[in-house]
């Protein structure tokens, strides 16, 4: 597993070509395991701010979120491939998608010890540290997302050489981000409430809520706070 991930990180084109041509045994399983390990490490780091049972819950939730988002997006990803007339079969699209998730999760996993240190030592309860940690997570997520995007670009080029894949990548990234944000929203809390350490799990809310409406409400409140809206 480590060797495939190493190649995937250093040279995603070669790594995904190896996986697509099945030159390594069980390539998708290896990438899945790498993705799970990285996501679990990142989840544990996020949960370490509140600690106790929250660590275990976020450790489980993070891989669920990443792989659940991939599962939800997969049909539409394959549809875009078909519309773009790329010669990709289902298993090839799945391999490239899993490669992207593996790179994303590995990057997050590599940064997990740093996040864990700051999460575990940040003051609690404190809204400032809560927001700072979210900012740190978002910055790490953007960085990891860019590398993951690079892996997708090289993967599609390896699978369909000589074809234009730019808008397919853009559609995949937009779709994954759009769905992933909502998945993260319904599975919240991640870092955990700074003001109440109880209520680790929000299933009692029935996985409800909408990320985009939530962001909109916060934006409107901010506009009201600064006096733009009455």
């Amino acid at each position: 597993m480590a060797a495939l991930v190493q190649i995937l990180l250093r040279n995603p084109g070669d790594g995904l070509a190896l996986a697509l041509n099945r030159q390594v045994a069980l390539p998708r399983t290896r990438m899945l395991v790498a993705g799970l390990c990285g996501a679990m490490a990142w989840g544990a780091a996020m949960g370490s701010h509140v600690g106790r049972a929250h660590v275990w819950i976020t450790t489980i939730k993070m891989p669920l979120m990443l792989l659940g988002t991939l599962t939800l997006c997969f049909p539409l990803m394959q549809l875009t491939v078909a519309v773009a007339r790329l010669p990709l079969r289902l298993h090839q699209t799945l391999t490239i998608g899993l490669g992207g998730v593996a790179v994303f999760a590995t990057c997050l996993g590599a940064l997990a010890p740093v996040l864990a240190l700051f999460a575990a030592t940040a003051p609690i309860p404190s809204m400032a540290s809560y927001l700072n940690l979210y900012l740190l997570c978002a910055a790490c997520g953007v960085g990891a997302g860019l590398y993951s995007l690079r892996a997708l670009v090289y993967g599609l080029r390896a699978a369909a050489p000589g074809t234009k894949t730019g808008w397919v990548i853009a559609a995949w990234a937009l779709l994954y981000q759009f769905t992933g944000a909502q998945a993260a929203w319904v599975l919240r809390p991640w870092i955990g409430s700074s003001y109440g350490v109880d209520g680790y799990w929000n299933l009692q809310r029935g996985l409800s809520g909408n990320f985009y409406l939530g962001v909109g409400r916060v934006f409107l409140r901010w506009l009201a706070e600064i006096g733009v809206l009455s």
């Binding site: 240190l117 940040a122 590398y147």
Partner: protein
């Protein structure tokens, strides 16, 4: 199977060797002339005869140590030697950090300071390895470990050298001049860190000069060094106090910048 990951072959002078059946390019790109320190490093020779000899190599034959790191020679030996050196130096300097506040704090700081140094190395090692790999660098995990430990061990050498002077000041300075002692420790730690950072930076530049390919990525290294210093500062703040008297571990949460801006 050969991939682009394979390290380029090099001749004795570091120039790339053409593969069999290939012709040499007509006009190879001119290599920039080596700097004076690179020429010195080229002449360095060193064979580590044991983990404890690694410190000598770091002082007298940095070029040879850098070449061993680049070629992954004696990796395990270097790892043990660098780890032992970093551990010993940080424990000794930790004891001196705490010496100003009595024997109990001396013992506490001698335990806590190695945890800060090696803990920061351990926390930052995965990001160093993964992000260098993402930029196409050729380090394996052992080389990454040794590169990270190199910073700690090189800084440890400076701390060891400064230890007697700082210890003398700790013993002879009166209680009221705690600010002076903290300033002196910050200065010593700053110089030691600068030495460690400079050494790893030179290793990176030397590898690029020697192999025409990057062993580590310069941008990743610069960013990583910032993260490493922030992590070390946060760990020291969390495990502290090191100089002032206090409990072994208070478990108090907080960001080190807040403590710098608003010292209580």
């Amino acid at each position: 199977m050969s991939t682009r990951l394979d390290p380029p072959l090099s001749n004795d002078h570091g120039g790339p060797v053409p593969a069999q059946g290939q012709t040499c390019p007509a006009q190879p790109e001119p290599t920039p002339p080596p700097k004076a320190w690179m020429a010195r490093w080229e002449a360095d020779t060193f064979t580590p005869c044991g983990p404890l000899a690694v410190g000598g190599g770091l002082l007298r034959a940095q070029g040879a140590v850098a070449r061993d790191l680049m070629r992954d020679r004696h990796g395990r030996l270097y790892c043990l030697g660098l780890l032992a050196l970093a551990l010993f130096a940080s424990a000794l300097y930790g004891a001196i950090l705490g010496a100003f506040s009595g024997p109990q704090q001396m013992l506490f700081a001698a335990i806590k300071f190695p945890v800060v140094v090696l803990g920061a190395c351990a926390i930052c090692l995965p990001s160093f390895h993964v992000f260098n790999a993402l930029m196409g660098a050729r380090l394996n995990l052992m080389q990454s470990t040794n590169a990270v430990l190199l910073v700690a061990a090189a800084a440890g050498l400076i701390l060891l050298a400064c230890a007697p002077v700082v210890w003398f000041f700790s013993l002879s300075t009166e209680e009221g001049a705690r600010g002076f002692m903290i300033g002196l420790h910050l200065l010593t730690l700053g110089v030691a860190t600068a030495f460690g950072v400079n050494l790893i930076w030179r290793v990176q530049r030397y590898a690029r000069f020697k192999d025409q390919a990057s062993l580590m990525d310069g941008r990743v290294l610069a960013l990583w060094l910032c993260v490493f210093l922030i992590v070390a500062a946060q760990l020291a703040h969390h495990l502290g106090p090191l100089v002032n008297p206090g409990d072994f571990f208070s478990g108090q949460r907080g960001f080190f910048v807040t403590a710098l801006v608003r010292p209580d």
